[in-house]
């Protein structure tokens, strides 16, 4: 790839630079949490509930404790008796939110199959797992519920005594009266019922932790699979373990995928760390895949009715949405935010909808907690509006592309305040749609569709538009909505005294390539070659503060912080250059790392040489402190709003129900692009997960409340022959308020792909009078919906 070879610092931003992080990963030398091995290390395994809902009558650990090589067996009572805070908190408050205590190990009741009841620490992982089976637990089984609407409507024992009706929250957004008026006045209405099943994130690396407590210094170090080590540090300090934050070090080494599932503070790492504190020995825990399926926060789990009001000419007048959202047996950190603010605020999609109202009832159920999974809330919201728009077009007998185009927010309307309480920063939605449609011949495909139908063959074209609120910031706005965390990101940009650059970033990578893109940002701003820049993430002892990686925020908020810090460093260097070159600061020009006096290019100093001067401190401007580094906290003034249009062409085989994706086109606008190779990679992976949700994936529970999809051969993570090649393209509409014009791209394609595929399949099946099929649309779904073997 010729354009990726040694770009100069000047044009490195925007280049397809090969990733800096790849070599150790390719050689098998990279260190993941499970690769951490410490002298004297013990191994922990968690005994989990056998039931969906049951009262714990008694626990007998004696037989397990008597086993050779078992070091200790702990119960929830042991944790409670130790006096630690023991309460995993929510990070987002809502009016009247019910917040029951979420303990590290259950004491009174188990509320879903994955609830931890006891933990064994042993000299080997195999002995620890063997010992789990020797723990005898007496239960009194209780009636259980797994479906969100049933949890609040049916007479079932409450999951938590604090919520008799299983309602965790009852959330409303928008103007109900305006929506009622719009529906009363509109020429037409359309309605669709949507079930979004549970998605299991399926990071290839299961969650893991290695904790090492030093009793002499009372310091705890923990390596763990974390998307946000500083958040984990804070929560373990304040909420579960009570260890002072300044004696707690959290290290996220290489992390093997996250997709949201590694944001949260789970009981497991707390129990692992607590056990190390009790035993004064290192303790390692790693989830089996089945444990991962039972306990990693699931995504989605919505039951929704959406109604659209529109006029004869295709103008949308109003949108009404009612959702039951399952939040599982416990309130995870963003379990309240994801189905409320992250969801309802994007229901306007790319469209000018004058009246919107949404109501979301969050329901406790005897299931794995539900929280943000790639696309979080925005994926559910865009799915709702896109399905509703397709069904509305059908109701009007109007071409869906024409109908959607008619209702787009026009480019001149930005910043655009939607009826769902967001101000979209910038967008050129029609250009995005046109760019995507340029990749296919829409009219020809419609003709082909007609012809093939005559032969009993069914092709469908799906076109979905999306907009995403990304970044989860600014802090004050998020705080006003209930967030208990900041929306900023922090970084340190430091010239070392010999002229190399160290960038310390508060985000934490799980495959996104931050070490490359952040180095590109610093190289661009400082004029320093990439090989002289070292990006460090994932260690709270090296990086003082940070919020982490989620919500498509790293490039825009984390990258924005690095750009700001680097610019400030550059300006300090400029003042040193002016001083030593005996010129006015205003006369010093900066070009590709070199400061020179305007009109006298030979009077110059390179920024890497200035770094040395800054640390020598022998000859600095009067009053200037030595050193050349800046700590930045960047709190954006708004979210960013990536957007785009995806198009799929599918052929559905009525006889077998098979769905063949003939073509998949993704046009994404993530603002300025730092590295096109990485943007494409994010889009590819996002499409794969969106297609997975559309056609293959979904967790299910049996009648006893046991998770049925317990292993990778029971839950359909898409494999290579199930996915097509992807065609990607971009438009570039910079964010006006981001220091780099960047919007973020991590979640975009996951949000877009599911409604795109469902639209295409529904389009193909129009001759069968099918407006919508719920996901995952498996061959069986198609086969039954089209009349089976009639």
């Amino acid at each position: 790839m010729s354009d990726s070879e040694n770009p100069t610092a000047e044009d490195v931003f925007g280049s397809a630079v090969e990733r800096q992080e790849d070599v150790p990963l390719l050689k098998g030398e990279a260190q993941f949490t499970d690769d951490v091995s410490l002298p004297g290390m013990t191994h922990l395994a968690v005994r989990r509930s056998d039931h969906a809902h049951a009262r714990i009558v008694g626990i007998d650990t004696s037989s397990a404790e008597a086993m050779e090589d078992v070091v200790a067996v702990f119960t929830g009572q042991d944790v409670e008796d130790s006096g630690v805070p023991n309460a995993i908190p929510t990070a987002w408050d809502l009016p009247n939110l019910v917040q029951p205590q979420y303990k590290m190990l259950a004491t009174d009741k188990v509320r879903h199959e994955g609830d931890g009841v006891a933990a064994v620490v042993a000299e080997s992982p195999r002995v620890a797992r063997d010992a789990l089976e020797r723990i005898e637990i007496e239960y009194e089984q209780l009636d259980h519920v797994t479906e969100p609407s049933e949890a609040v409507d049916r007479d079932v024992p409450p999951v938590h005594a604090e919520a008799e009706d299983n309602v965790a929250f009852d959330f409303e957004l928008g103007d109900a009266e305006a929506v009622d008026d719009a529906f009363a006045e509109a020429d037409h209405t359309a309605s669709v019922d949507l079930r979004l099943p549970r998605i299991i994130p399926n990071a290839m690396e299961t969650r893991a932790a290695v904790a090492d407590y030093e009793s002499t210094t009372e310091e705890l170090r923990i390596w763990m699979t974390s998307q946000n080590p500083h958040l984990h540090r804070m929560l373990m300090s304040a909420a579960t373990l009570g260890i002072p934050e300044n004696r707690l070090q959290v290290i996220a080494p290489e992390v093997g995928g996250g997709f949201g599932s590694k944001i949260y503070h789970y009981p497991d790492e707390a129990v692992t760390a607590w056990s190390s504190m009790q035993l004064d020995r290192p303790v390692k825990w790693q989830a089996t895949r089945t444990e991962s399926y039972q306990t990693d926060c699931h995504g989605r789990d919505h039951e929704t009715t959406a109604e659209v009001a529109m006029d004869d000419d295709g103008t949308v007048r109003g949108l009404r949405v009612e959702t039951h959202a399952g939040i599982g047996a416990h309130l995870s950190q963003f379990g309240s935010a994801t189905p409320s603010y992250l969801y309802a605020t994007v229901l306007s999609g790319q469209y000018t909808i004058p009246a919107i109202h949404a109501r979301v009832v969050g329901a406790f159920t005897n299931t794995t907690p539900v929280d943000a999974y790639r696309g979080a809330g925005r994926a559910e919201g865009i799915y709702v509006i896109e399905r509703a728009m397709d069904v509305a077009a059908r109701e009007l007998d109007m071409d869906p592309v024409e109908f959607k185009k008619r209702n787009l927010v026009p480019a001149e309307e930005f910043p655009y305040e939607s009826a769902a309480a967001l101000v979209y920063d910038s967008g050129e939605y029609e250009r995005g749609m046109d760019t995507a449609l340029d990749h296919i011949d829409y009219e020809a495909l419609r003709e082909e569709q007609e012809e093939l139908r005559e032969e009993g063959r069914y092709i469908g074209i799906g076109v979905a538009n999306f907009v995403e609120s990304a970044g989860l910031s600014p802090s004050e706005a998020a705080g006003n909505l209930g967030s208990q965390a900041g929306g900023w990101e922090s970084s340190i940009v430091r010239f070392d005294s010999t002229g190399t650059v160290t960038v310390l970033a508060g985000t934490a990578d799980q495959g996104q390539g931050h070490r490359t893109t952040y180095a590109q940002i610093a190289a661009e701003e400082l004029g320093v070659p990439l090989e002289d820049i070292e990006v460090v993430e994932g260690d709270t002892d090296r990086i003082p503060q940070g919020m982490g990686t989620y919500g498509s925020r790293s490039a825009s908020v984390g990258g924005g912080s690095i750009a700001r810090g680097a610019r400030e460093v550059r300006e300090k260097a400029r003042r040193i250059a002016a001083h030593q070159l005996e010129a006015s600061v205003d006369d010093i020009e900066f070009d590709d790392g070199e400061f020179h006096v305007a009109g006298a290019p030979d009077r110059s100093m390179h920024i890497q040489g200035i770094a040395h001067e800054a640390y020598l401190g022998h000859d600095l401007p009067e009053g200037m402190d030595p050193g050349l580094e800046v700590t930045d906290f960047y709190d954006p003034e708004n979210f960013t709003f990536p957007f785009g249009t995806h198009v799929a062409v599918v052929e559905v085989d009525q006889d077998t129900g098979d769905i063949d994706i003939r073509k998949y086109v993704a046009v994404d606008d993530c603002g300025e692009i730092i590295n096109p190779l990485i943007v494409d990679g994010q889009v590819h992976g996002g499409i794969a997960q969106g297609i997975g949700a559309a056609l293959f994936e979904g967790a299910s529970y049996d009648e006893e409340g046991h998770l049925e999809t317990r292993r990778m051969d029971e839950y359909a993570v898409p494999h290579s022959t199930q996915l097509p090649d992807f065609e990607t393209d971009n438009t570039v509409t910079p964010s006006p308020h981001n220091p780099l014009g960047v919007k973020g791209v991590g979640e975009s394609a996951t949000i877009a792909a599911t409604p795109t595929i469902v639209a295409a399949v529904s389009d193909a099946l129009q001759p069968f009078d099918i407006d919508h099929l719920d996901i995952p649309i498996t061959p069986e779904t198609v086969w039954r919906a089209t009349g089976g073997n009639d």
Binding site: L26, D34, A203, E205, G257, I678, A688, M712, S720
Partner: protein, 159 residues
């Protein structure tokens, strides 16, 4: 529990070790011998992150007992690089951005490398079939297929 003395040649180096009958090959490699490149992703042989080569065949080391491989020649991802430099397949993975988190990569590389030993000028569909037993959650496979296709293309040119 009984113990068994076995010998394994890993990437050309001979090792003697003592294992329980139930010790999995992946655990013997990772825990006893320190070859931590192969990863455990699923414990059931589905994901392929643990793929290594045993006597020339790509196998899933999480569903193979170490004692079954007594005397075998095992190749792991650590043995691919040539004197510290990435081999052609690894280099193509980097150039095509065929990895993100990198957790599935060691297994994916061993499967692809084994496939390429016999495949001449494979089609994209053939490549997709060859790696069907290796799951990747990050890349959507497109760039992995590109990387394998380009590696095969380069091998074809040099012949």
């Amino acid at each position: 529990m009984s113990r068994h003395d076995i010998s394994l040649t890993v990437n050309g180096t001979e090792h003697e070790l003592t294992v329980e009958p139930r010790t999995l090959l992946v655990d013997a490699l990772r825990e006893d011998l320190g070859y931590t490149g192969a990863n455990v992703g699923c414990d059931t042989g589905r994901c392929g992150a643990c793929t290594v080569r045993v006597d020339g065949d790509a196998i899933k080391s999480c569903t193979t007992f170490a004692v079954q491989t007594d005397g075998a020649s095992v190749e792991t991802v650590e043995g691919l690089a040539d004197d510290g430099d990435l081999d052609s397949l690894q280099a193509q993975f980097q150039e095509n951005h065929g990895l993100q988190c990198g957790y599935c990569t060691p297994g994916m590389l061993m499967t692809a490398d084994t496939f390429l030993q016999d495949a001449e000028d494979p089609s994209r569909d053939e490549i997709r079939e060859a790696i069907e037993g290796n799951l990747c959650r990050c890349t959507g496979y497109h760039n992995i297929v590109d990387a394998i296709e380009d590696t095969a293309g380069l091998a074809g040119q040099s012949q």
